[in-house]
Symmetry: C2
Subunit: 253 residues, 2 copies
């Protein structure tokens, strides 16, 4: 049997959100590669070798997976959420492009997963029910000027905005600057969702106004979603619902 690589999304955490397709790939694999906490989500079994690695070694990990597949192994590269959204799929293709030409003959598949913004949106209601954008707030891989420019243009376009990696220990000041830019462009009244560790036992959701939002409300396990100008909150005894209606009336510019 010849080797392959599947880059698989494990979803946000809950086992009920792992697709059967990913389960099948894991059942057929000889090797699992990934960041330590994601590999820890894979059940060990005989014949399956787990290769956990640290954060920020994505290209090494990708090259390792491609090398093993070239040697005939069946390798699953695990990501949380969806592997195509700020995760391992792009890293794998970067390694593929930079690597030996023979790697291009390999069987490589990407298996989608429930990405954090969709899980968080579902828990809160439907804030991404109309046009939206997804921005990675980490300035680890891009200059801050690009992030700020995108925030301003996204506000002008009146997108709802989903923010990945809002706040890291290494750069806590970035998210405070992002909130300041957003308040300046969207005003204080706009609702914003902080959704931490969604679908895990540590899940915690909070909806506040942009004026009330504080950098400490987010950490690296938090997904942040800012509404568009049309996003609404329905108050209920069971807790608020955040949603964006499907339509924009003709008179709205």
């Amino acid at each position: 049997m010849s080797g392959w690589v599947a880059v698989a999304g494990l979803g946000p955490g809950g086992e009920g959100l792992v697709t059967p397709e990913v389960g099948t790939a894991l059942a057929e694999a000889t090797d699992v590669v990934g960041y330590i906490p994601y590999v820890a989500r894979v059940a060990p079994r005989e014949g399956l070798v787990l290769h956990p690695s640290d954060n920020r070694v994505e290209i090494d990990r990708a090259a390792q997976a491609l090398e093993m597949a070239a040697a005939g192994q069946r390798v699953v590269v695990v990501s949380s959420g969806d592997p195509g959204v700020f995760a391992m799929a792009s890293a794998l293709f970067e390694a593929l492009e930079a690597g030996p030409a023979s790697w291009r003959d390999l069987d490589i598949r990407v298996l989608p997963g429930i990405t954090a913004m969709l899980a968080a949106a579902a828990r809160a209601g439907a804030p991404l029910g109309h046009d939206f954008c997804a921005i990675n707030l980490s300035d680890n891989l891009k200059p801050w000027a690009v992030i700020e420019r995108r925030l301003r243009l996204a506000a002008e376009a009146d997108f709802a905005m989903a923010f990945y990696n809002p706040r890291s220990k290494a750069r806590p000041e970035g998210f405070a600057r992002a909130l300041a830019v957003l308040r300046e462009t969207c005003g204080d009244a706009r609702p914003i969702l902080f959704a931490r560790a969604v679908t895990t036992p540590e899940e915690y959701l909070r909806i506040v106004s942009l004026g009330e939002a504080r950098p400490e409300m987010a950490d690296m396990r938090t997904m942040v979603i800012l509404g568009s100008s049309r996003t609404r909150v329905i108050e209920r005894a069971r807790g608020p619902i955040l949603y964006t209606p499907r339509s924009i009336p003709d008179e709205v510019p």
Copy 2:
């Protein structure tokens, strides 16, 4: 047992992409409500009543689901893809907000699914691996001027762009106008993906340059993804891979 509503995403078509959580909700349901082709994906069984309805009656369908839940039934509202992305979740909350106050005491859950853009991106590589936006190109629910404005701002922000509902029989000219705006703002060389009926037996993928793109390449079953300025194509004998690298170098504005 008291009633509930679950708005569930069936994913893009393949059964391997339906989450276990959605399967559980369908197994517990008394009633399934939805657009005819989506309800047709639910296996009939004793004790389950299927309520298929036509397109463009989303609010009526949502109100029907809420009414049945208020009467003690366990109702799954089915969407394709993810219910929170241009689908039934927002319609349900519109109906909830406009309906009787007692509906707000109902148990309402949104169960996320694999949305079309993530399935299409996975099949093609990882075009959404960096910042991106999702825009519904149908001008059924919003003025064309809003769409054009968002396209121009998204191009300026250098987002990859995922387009839902690119072309309908009723308004075939809209997508031609969108392509013209995109060529004007992004140039002819930018790669664009047409991904039709992804994960079904009719799946068909095509990657062309924006200059080669033609309106007829899309229909209502096609997801269209335009790369950012950084998106790359890796040519292979097995077919091209479209992906966006994770990083932006400091010198790029």
